[in-house]
Amino acid sequence: MTNNRLRNLPGYVYLALVLIFLYLPIALLFVLSFNDSAVMAFPLRGFTWHWYQELLGAGELWQATRNSFIVAFVSAFFATLLGAMAAFAIVRYRFRWRDSLLALSSIPLVMPSIVLGAGLLILFRSLMGFELSLGLITASHILISIPACMLIVMARLAGFSKNLEEAAMDLGATPWQTLLRVTLPISLPALLAAFLVAFTTSFDEYAMTTLITGTETTLPVYLYSMLRFPRKLPIVLALGSIIIVGTSVIIILAEWLRSADTTANKNSAVEVDR
């Protein structure tokens, strides 16, 4: 055991360094959100709550944040669902147009999203006459997240043998039961990863969204537009800090609850493949 820990040490050190690398800029933003100046530069000018107070009154900013959370959640859910189903089909079946599906589904990654945004604007507004709405934004965010979700789930399913599914079927499970009780648990880590990637993709999407935004907008669009007023930028830093701290707390809390749960029930879904 001691030997094992010692062997793991370099890995932990590296992970710690990476986490520092990842969180350093975030920490900087956090510090600057309390800095008594709109200029984002050192030296710092002193401590203030001012930006957080202004944030409280920034109604449109909160509205945009709320919209972003809804759009990100809904689009991540459907992108994961669609991507996972397609990934399963691609890994497990041979069918007509399979390779085309694979190739086409990678295009949203390739295309600069502003091009898709332009195409969507012309298609849905100019030619089809739809009002621009959060619905269209959500639908297009699903599209750009599908490739990532597919890739992640495919990577999981590709190496995993289908024996378990066959066994389940041989034992009399229906196809849907097999999918839900065998395939789904196996892919769960991948689904979680896919959901997270899709969520953050949507939460940060600007180039496409800005072209198809209607009367309700998302956070990145509002934020980029706000850059015209540098003196308000620290308000955005304050909001960013709150979002980061909020998500971290929720995640740690959820993890704490879950780990309490899994010690009682060791065969958690994630471990099924072991």
């Binding site: 390739v110 990577a155 190496g159």
Partner: protein
Amino acid sequence: MSDYVNQVTHPVTNSRTTNKESAIPRSLLGSLIGPTWIWLVLFMLLPMLLMFLMTFRTEAFNWREWEFTFENYRKFIETPSYHRLLLRSVWMAFVVAALSVVAAYPVAYVVAFQAGRWRNLMIMLLIVPAMSSFLLRVLAWRIILGSSGLLSTVLLGLGIIDEAAPILLYTPTAVIITLVYVWLPFAALPIAVALNQIEPNLLEAASDLGAKPYATFLRITLPLSMPGVIAAFLFVFIPTLGEYVTPALVGGPEGVMIGNIIWDQFSRALNWPMGALLSMAMLLIVLIPAGFISLYSKISRERAGNYD
């Protein structure tokens, strides 16, 4: 289940060594790929078709009038700076993707093999920074690399430089650092997922048979995680190719990428036809790695078959 399902499943289960099909009946196939097909056609293929047609136009909005022209193509061919920027972008995307994968692999390794019950927490910790706006994180790097930033201050304190100066900022290197920072967690995820599915028995068997850890890694772990590595590489390479925010904010005059020119065409210049053409050119370049994906999926499919 009924006869219908038996008909479909039994040939498969009875001949599993020769037939690579799944045990799940084909009747589900339509439901599995249908939604994705619809999404791709409606929200991607149709808009892309419009944008492709647009490359033969001079104007973006008035589709009642139609004037077919090769003017944009002529301009594209005659402008060598576009070609150079395309090449530079491919190179930058390659470097960023390679560095991200190399930096992310150990992270994924720790997450998959050593994190134990903390694994999900680790994954979350990697993703949380991505929850703050991309733009804000790039701005933060501008501060870190700038004259009064951390890097400059540290180097000044160590006596390595004698005048506060923007270190690396406004160079292609700054773009690479910042993008590796942005993509590292996303590169780690697919690798971790791939590593996670390697049977621990396989590694134990190798070490029982006397294989050195590095040999086990090179001959078992690394090859088995290749699907994840390739996914991670593409995952970084492809979006980086069209990246424009990072080069605009930290790249300086030498860091301009094709994404910036495309962005300019769509925004300031409002020359959508030219922007569309440049994007299509980029798409062509990426078709090469896209072919790679399908090759990889063929290989992994065969490997999945070999497990039986």
